[in-house]
């Protein structure tokens, strides 16, 4: 049976525990407070060699009381990041990834990581467009996929899949 999750690299996990003040990290990646996100990301990149930006994916969750919500937290977006360091053959280190997440309540914003990894620029733009997460300090906050005058953010849970857009459909 294969592992469900790629194991977190031990040295980074220890550092992250210390940084976040927790004892154990979930295998899906720790939740990082928004105000310390840029600091966390910069340390990951500069001190721990995580140069490769893999993806950034935002997931929208509905608030309590709305149909279909899990009823614990307010209407929010969870942004999941994943970064990777490439194998270091001299030290015999395999390739390792490190995921981390950040919770953004709707109406608030999260700092953009485009200043840390330039690849976050386009990834965050996509999430901004499709999920509606607001990234503070993003260099180019335009829509990517949808036309500029498109109402709403398609990947939000309250957006119906067959929303009509006159006159083309």
């Amino acid at each position: 049976m294969p592992p469900r999750h790629e194991p977190l690299p031990a040295d980074v996990a220890a550092w992250a525990c210390e940084f976040l003040g927790v004892d154990e990290l979930p295998p899906e990646g720790p939740f990082v407070p928004r105000d310390r996100l840029v600091e966390f990301a910069t340390a990951l990149k500069n001190d721990h060699d995580f140069l490769f930006f893999v993806y950034c994916a935002a997931t929208h969750y509905l608030a309590e009381g709305e149909p279909g919500s899990d009823g614990a937290l307010p209407d929010r977006t969870v942004v999941a990041y994943r970064v990777r360091r490439l194998p270091d053959r001299r030290r015999g280190r395999p390739t390792q990834t490190f995921p981390f997440r950040v919770v953004v309540p709707t109406g608030e914003s999260t700092p953009s990581l485009a200043g840390v990894w330039v690849g976050a620029d386009w990834q965050e733009r996509e999430q901004l467009d499709l999920v509606g997460t607001v990234f503070q300090g993003h260099p180019d906050p335009r829509r990517v996929m949808m036309p500029d005058d498109w109402p709403g953010h398609p990947l939000r849970r309250d957006y119906a899949i067959d929303t009509a857009h006159f006159p083309w459909r």
């Binding site: 930006f53 993806y55 994916a57 490439l86 990894w117 180019d140 990947l155």
Partner: protein
Amino acid sequence: MRMPLDLLLPSWPDPHLDLGEYDPEADLVALNMGPQHPSTHGVLRVKLYLDGETVVKAVPYVGYLHRGVEKLCEKLTYVQITPIVDKNDYVSPMMNEWAVNAAFEALLGVEPPPRAQYMRTIFAEIQRIASHLISIGTWGLDMGGAIGGGATVFLYCLRERELILDLFEEVTGCRFHYNTHTVGGMRHDLPAGWDKRAKAVLDRISARTWEYERFLLDNPICRQRAEGIAVVDPTLAMELGVSGPILRASGVDYDMRRDAPYGAYGDIDIQVPVRTEGDALARALVRIAEMRESARIASTLLDGVPEGPIGALKPVKLHGAVKLKDGEEGYAAIESPRGELGTYVVAARERRGAASPYRLKIRSPSYHAISLLPWLCPGHTLSDVVVIIGSIDPIMGEVDR
């Protein structure tokens, strides 16, 4: 008298260049390439600001093929997703199928039987050859024109690709959009004698790759057009998340097949072609070397395909009954012809044990490669832009999803 252009342009291209800060005497022309243009590989639109014929700023616009695949996947069962994602990277559908099913299997804790793993690996390698053939062919088309030598290159490449499509058609019944992977294994078994036919085709293609390499290296015009064009900085490429042949042509020796083995890649020794030039020619040469290597891998694996079942789950379980745990999320990636093709899945939360994902994101390599364009184009001429777009080989279905 104006300053020479190479002095005006910043040495390190700035994708967010403010055109007001550029030379006020310059008479810039904004040229829209696309969304319908013969060499933007589909519906990519690049807005070029030209000073004479030199590009000052390039702004890619994507989304002309945004089909809402991620939203659609939230409404489908895990098993139904496979044919949908086929259409993302329409040049290598096998890879898409494997990428989503690998993520589902990892979260479900299912491991496909060895025969299925071998079949997946063989199919993936053959598919990689087909994809690179299209890539090289259309790159020739960009450099030589649809009415000219480029078309000859293109049609030679398509000639070989037809052989591969025949192989897949024999297994799955389709020329592409195979829908042959499923959660926990494969749908179609190998027909009798397929391995011999596949080997003959692979030998033939592997011999023909020398033809393409000679075409690239011995042709002075091709060398002039492609050498030193759009050199990709490896650090920038990594930060942008660019992977695959583009990264390997820039000197980064990283290939998920060897460094994070999946499928049957653990059973075989893989030589990863790496070049250090980082220019458009190097990317094409890496692709050609990869074709040769893929043919070798597939031929070797064809010798040792184990007998046994091709699926880990019972067929009755496949339809709608594959369920993941609530709230679980995970990520799995494979090395597609364009780089790391991954799937990020959040399992259902709304109704316990629902058979459809709550959120599914496809991490497509082409999307990251497109974000490289504003860095590569400035300083090159309009004719180079088509060479650059061809050499990073974007597939718009995968970029826009």
